[in-house]
Amino acid sequence: MVSARGLTKRFGSSEAVAGIDFSIRRGEVFGFLGPNGAGKTSTMRMIACMSPASEGTLRVRGLDPSRDGPTIRAGLGVVPQQDTLDMELTVLDNLLVYGRYFDLSRRVVRERAERLLDFAQLSERAGSRVDDLSGGMRRRLTIARALISSPELVILDEPTTGLDPQARHLVWERLYRLRQEGVTLIVTTHYMDEAEQLCDRLVVMDKGTIVGEGSPRELVDKHVSREVLEVRLGEGGHERLAGDVRGRVERVEVLADRVCCYGDNGDEMLALVHGLGYQPENTLVRRGSLEDVFLRLTGRSLVE
């Protein structure tokens, strides 16, 4: 569906995307996971043919964005990071105006708009001004709007950033339904739970490069142990604890406010910490996650 070789984006002397390779298959949910400034949005804009690549080759639905932008975009839905809804128009009118950019007849746009409002659970708000909608409703409207051309590929740049948990779950549920209908989804996110919930495969991006690639499970299996023990000590001592357990667990990381110990069995690691005489303020045993993958691959946390 999308393939890139050596894809690069420069702004002046700074390199936002530094020669990345990836390929996205039809029907999958593909994620770009990384912190702010990793180059995710620049990559999305290139795939959406809204920004020319500085170097490298990119093919979207078999076409070249530098030549076939309008044709590619005709079959593409874009959910930008910042909503671009028309605040003065009603919910329904936003869909009607947008559909006309794709040269759909008024009748077709109206039919689809009604179906999409239902899909986005906004039917009752069809006549409301966008200004009066909550953040979650606006996001769902933006997603509905991106679907007006019945695209086979939808690009979502941070679809749930800034939404409360309930609103996020509703968006995820709708995106899951799209996937079941066979739509290919490309999602950027800096939330590891979003990546884990949604993505069939993903790449981990940092400073314009791809540092890891695979399914969420593969990435965790490859880069992180099965279980993780997080330890918070009352006052300092994190470095000393790390020194004491190093070599006796698979791996240990010291973060600003806690120590993470990686191994197959969290409870055994906890027993070890207690056995060394530490009295942690609190501890947590959990499964390895994409957060740990990111930490492992970049030495930093995903959300600072």
Binding site: T71, E88, R100
Partner: protein, 267 residues
Amino acid sequence: MMGRPLWVRALGSWGFRYRRTWRGSVATSFAFPVLYLAALGVGLGGLVNRHLASQPGRPGLTALGGVTYLVFVAPGVLVGSAMQIATSESTFPVMGAIKWQRLYEAMLATPLRTGDVLAGHLCYIASRLALASGAFLAVAAAFGAVHSPEAVVALPVGILTGMAFSTPMVAYAATQETIVGFSVVERLVIVPLFLFSGSFFPIAQLPGALQLVAELTPLYHGVALARACMLGHLVTLSSLGHAGYLLALVAVGAWAASRTYRARLAS
């Protein structure tokens, strides 16, 4: 791409949005010339006509080209207001479409390209100018300020003059981060041009050097051309010169805008 041209789709969205405000806009388009022609043409004009008629040697209305002040001032206000409408439509709405509502970005995620977005917006501005100029002409005719069938050509002249300001202004607006520059342009360019480009008095009244400056401004050429239409001596070589000047400005502005739009929107 098959189907409607892409820029027409961009124009269509401006039209769609205009549907919400068209009543107020149309009413203003008629009210504005009524106010101006009543105050200047009839009110002030009455005094001017009487004064000129009572001069020693009775030069009559020759200073105004042999017509009453109402007839003299009407084409000047027509293009002067076209300039003002064009300028305001080419500044804040452009900023809004780039930064506030991000309307352009929404369009660019569809098949439209930056050139289509620009062309659609410019055509919308031209339509607004057509409406304003048409309304002005109708009101001017009702006031008895139209003396020739050639006056209908003043409508495209209003559009042309407006666009000569619009295309450079959208090019400029697309480079701005704040609206501060817009009020500077308004105060330092638009208002002086409106007052001193021959709309309200013949530029022969200005001191010699300033006459030359006035003749270099685009509004002067718009005023001269519109006045030629309204008085029925359109077909002259100087009309060709005026039109050529304005067309060149439209073209240069459109070229500049296509560059600033691409730099701003497709980086």
